[in-house]
């Protein structure tokens, strides 16, 4: 059912009892044209664009838990495109443009809110790096501007710009088109959109093996709900990528780390934008419910446990309390972790693999939510055509052998 004012009124007349389910829960068929492993935002967007843009509708998205229950539903939803390298600018800006019209595209309110993302500089190195980013971005036609400490405070009044801080604010880089979106709505909107186009979303269905024919090409997957045949399989499993690729005897340039976040009790609107600090590993925004959403750096060791050490979040809260003294007395309500897939250059891997018919989209690490629409869009094209979409091409797995890394790691250290 199309969501519209008219349908809202109609459903209101029957006490909102007759809204249809947003997607079906079909039994898996024995074969599909394409199987996507992982119903996070990226996997669901991939399925949506396969159906919408390439007319491939005989598609299943297999999810071991519930859709959107991985990093998509655990992230702090920061969206921006002011990355340093041209390859990154291209893909993150591609995504940002899709964000701008996504609610209309999906007929689903993803609550994209371009309230501005401000990245703070605390030392000479930060100032130089951020100014370099500002210049690089402007050359690429991407908005990013330098703010003095006073301008930063004017843009974000609760910010403490005293020179007495352990890490004083020396300025900031502001991307006004950056912001946040509602993470669950992104997963749900793509799920509903894909389902309406005929895609089967199959939850509680863990992929346990990748079947290959005598020539080594993919012929399907083993799952906890039986064998499902497909000549093309796209793995979009974030922190579990290494585990899945090992099923096809492939090793990956990836390590999985816990990344934590936490939210405070809800308060009245106080923080008008997103504030990030790479140097002190903290970032903060305020949700529409009024909770302050706070994120940290990753834990130090690899893990699949979806938890992390309390000392990491304590460190983050200390930094936040120094930057925003008024937040000191807030109580924190919830703290959780997700498992992020980190590559050596902190850039994603999108494309083909040495196994014919097996495609992979991973390595988004701590910062892939912002890329969800763009990632799904170029990955769908890659699967449909059997060769990388031009925007995806530089993010190949081969770059680790050729040495053509896209080194956002050196550029940002923390990249959300």
């Amino acid at each position: 059912m199309q969501y519209s004012f008219l349908n809202l009124v109609r459903q209101g007349l029957s006490g909102h009892q007759d809204w249809p389910a947003q997607w079906r829960s079909p039994e898996p068929k024995t074969a599909y044209d394409v199987v996507v492993v992982g119903a996070g935002g990226h996997g669901l967007a991939t399925a949506y664009y396969l159906a919408k843009e390439h007319g491939i509708t005989n598609v299943a998205v297999l999810e071991k838990g519930w859709l959107g229950g991985g990093n998509t539903g655990r992230n702090t939803t920061i969206i921006r495109s002011n990355y340093l390298w041209e390859e990154s600018e291209a893909i993150y800006e591609h995504a940002l443009r899709l964000w701008e019209t996504l609610s209309r595209e999906l007929n689903y309110n993803v609550m994209y809110s371009p309230r501005g993302v401000m990245m703070l500089a605390h030392n000479v190195h930060d100032v130089q790096v951020f100014k370099r980013h500002v210049h690089a971005n402007r050359l690429a036609g991407i908005d990013n501007e330098w703010l003095s400490p006073e301008e930063a405070k004017a843009f974000c009044p609760p910010l403490n710009i005293s020179r007495q801080l352990r890490y004083p604010v020396l300025g900031g880089a502001l991307q006004r088109r950056g912001g946040v979106a509602r993470h669950d709505a992104v997963a749900w909107g793509y799920a509903r959109g894909a389902d309406r186009l005929g895609v089967d979303i199959i939850q509680n269905c863990e992929v346990t093996g990748i079947r290959r024919d005598i020539n080594g090409a993919v012929e399907g997957v083993e799952t906890t709900r039986g064998t499902i045949k497909a000549k093309k399989v796209g793995v979009v499993a974030a922190g579990h990528t290494s585990v899945l690729m090992a099923m096809a005897s492939l090793r990956m340039p990836i390590e999985s780390f816990p990344l934590q976040a936490l939210v405070s009790e809800p308060i009245k609107p106080v923080l008008p934008c997103v504030v990030m600090s790479n140097s002190i590993h903290a970032y903060i925004s305020q949700s529409d419910k009024g909770e302050l959403v706070i994120g940290a750096g990753t834990d130090v060791y690899t893990s699949y446990s979806q938890t992390g050490g309390l000392h990491i979040t304590t460190h983050t809260l200390e930094a936040i309390a120094e930057l925003f003294p008024t937040f000191r007395r807030l109580r924190m309500m919830r703290n959780w972790g997700g498992i992020v897939d980190v590559t050596p250059d902190r850039s994603p891997i999108i494309g083909t693999t040495p196994v014919p018919g097996l495609f992979v989209n991973c390595g988004w690490g701590t910062g892939g939510f912002k890329a969800t629409p763009g990632s799904g869009h170029v990955f769908a094209a890659t699967i449909a055509r059997g060769e990388p979409h031009p925007i995806a091409a530089p993010f190949s797995l081969e770059r680790f052998v050729t040495g053509r890394l896209i080194d956002e790691a050196a550029a940002a250290a923390v990249a959300h």
Binding site: H240, S242, V243, R251, M252, P253, I254, E255, S256, V300, Y301, T302, S303, Y304, S305, T307, G309, L310, H311, P344, F400, V401, T402, G403
Partner: protein
């Protein structure tokens, strides 16, 4: 926070005294210029990243300063055993990693 047994100090100390140093037993070739690009990339970037028992290096930076190895279950984060650098990876009794 993990409690980590440093095999040199012979003491269990909190995680913040240590620095994680990546997968263990990844040996650098004696003459990298002899390697082809695949093998060099494998050494530099490709990791096993297992869901289960992981052999990893730690460094006791705020203690003795030395590197050592550990086996840790990446599902429970439980440290199973630590051992000195240069020692072979210990065999675990079968039940050890299903706890």
């Amino acid at each position: 926070m993990l409690l980590i047994h440093c095999p040199y100090c012979a003491m269990e100390r909190p995680e913040i005294e240590f620095r994680h140093a990546g997968e263990a037993h990844v040996a650098r070739a004696p003459d990298p210029s002899q390697l082809d690009d695949e093998t060099w990339a494998e050494f530099l970037y490709f990791r096993s990243n297992p869901k289960g028992v992981h052999a990893e290096r730690w460094r006791h930076v705020h203690g003795c300063g030395r590197f050592f190895n550990a086996l840790r279950d990446t599902v429970s984060d439980r440290l199973l055993v630590t051992y000195k650098a240069g020692e072979v990876r210990p065999e675990l009794p079968p039940q050890e990693h299903s706890r």
